[in-house]
Amino acid sequence: MPRVKVPRKSTAIDMTAMCDVASLLLTFFILTATARQPEPLAVDTPTSTVKIKLPESNIATITVGQGKVFFGVQGQPIRERMLQKMSERYKVPFSAEDIKRFSLMENFGVPINQLKQVIDMKGADRNKEGLQPGIPVDSVAGAASQLHEWIYQARIATKEINDESLRISIKGDSKEEYPVIKKIIDILQKQKVNKFSLITSMEGGDS
């Protein structure tokens, strides 16, 4: 019986299709990835075992670190509206250009009367460490603190534009002392915000 000869096939495969798929996926991921925004206040968040992710929209973040408080809201229209309301409230005028520039700022930490100077700066200069002194959290002469007003106006703006309630999250530095955090929780509770989120990072090992 003659042996059946198996024809030897080439091992080289046509990779064009695979390459197509790979580049498609790559383009998708590059486009969906949001560029990491530089933060003016770097904080080291404490770890926890919680695995719930933070929502993307309708969220305000209060960053606390080194005794300073920064505030930021997601969404440009909301930021614009918030600044308009704040400028009415504190009688600090802002031009349309200022408001446009402000809407591009992820977060900020200056008293409102210095806000214009920070808006006028270039993006890279703004985030220099120690430049922004933080939003005042103490109430002056019976009036509510500025942070209180910012949160309040942000909530109104979100309600007006998106018709949804704003979620508040606190991003604190792990070394931050409790009285500072307590002050912020008190400000939130004054507005009857009793439910908020604490931002944590992933737990490394078992502790």
């Binding site: 990779m15 064009t16 695979m18 390459c19 790979a22 580049s23 996926l25 790559l26 991921f29 590059i30 969906t32 990835a33 949001t34 990491r36 968040t45 404490p46 770890t47 926890s48 075992t49 919680v50 695995k51 719930i52 992710k53 933070l54 929502p55 606390v64 999250s169 991003k171 604190g172 530095d173 792990s174 070394k175 931050e176 002392e177 409790y178 009285p179 955090i181 307590k182 929780i185 939130l188 509770q189 004054k190 009857k192 009793n194 439910k195 908020f196 989120s197 604490l198 931002i199 944590t200 990072s201 992933m202 078992d206 502790s207």
Partner: protein, 181 residues
């Protein structure tokens, strides 16, 4: 004017073009595919991992009109956790001046406060038939990490009823006495 001379002058070939050798158009795509998958993996991981985690926290309703209104809870099933300085915890069951279980200083973590919480919650469940209530009282000397850690312990030990309450003077005294303030 400038003209491309493709004929190669005059001599030699007569009317015939110089044929360049036909090369294969196939390129080896293996390194390209390798690189692409590497980048895909990178972007996938960074987009999903960069999102921070959020721990939801609900605070008890605070009413400015009647500040003194307090909800009474049975002291037999409340465990009070005082957050002191240097990452230490002091806990007791019952009231501060008359504790059912003596105040104990503990560390954070698996072998510290978690053990105590699990044991006590079992005891209280067995003796009263109800779940334990944990009252968290952070002192001024504790930091934010301590607060998140203890809230995390609540999640791990599955304590459903807990609250963050302001610390009062007898409890600060207690912390001072045990050297964790």
């Amino acid at each position: 004017m400038a003209e491309l001379n493709t004929g190669g002058g005059g001599g030699g070939h007569k009317g015939g073009k110089v044929r360049s050798k036909k090369q294969s158009t196939r390129v080896d795509m293996t390194p390209m595919v390798d690189l692409m998958f590497l980048l895909i993996t990178f972007f996938m991981l960074t987009t999903t991992l960069a999102k921070p985690q959020a721990m939801d926290l609900a605070m008890p309703d605070k009413d400015d009109q009647n500040k003194d209104e307090q909800l009474d809870v049975a002291d037999t099933r409340t465990m009070t956790v005082l957050l002191g300085s240097q990452n230490r915890i002091e806990w007791f069951v019952g009231l501060a001046d008359n504790p059912i279980s003596a105040p104990t200083v503990e560390n954070y973590g698996k072998n510290g406060i978690r053990k105590a919480i699990i044991e006590k919650s079992k005891d209280i469940k067995a003796s009263t038939g109800k779940d334990m209530i944990v009252i968290i009282k952070p002192s001024d000397k504790s930091n934010y990490r301590n607060l998140v850690d203890i809230l995390d312990e609540m999640k791990i030990t599955n304590i459903k009823q807990y609250a963050i309450v302001d610390i009062n003077t007898p409890e600060v005294e207690l912390l001072k006495r045990d050297g964790v303030y």
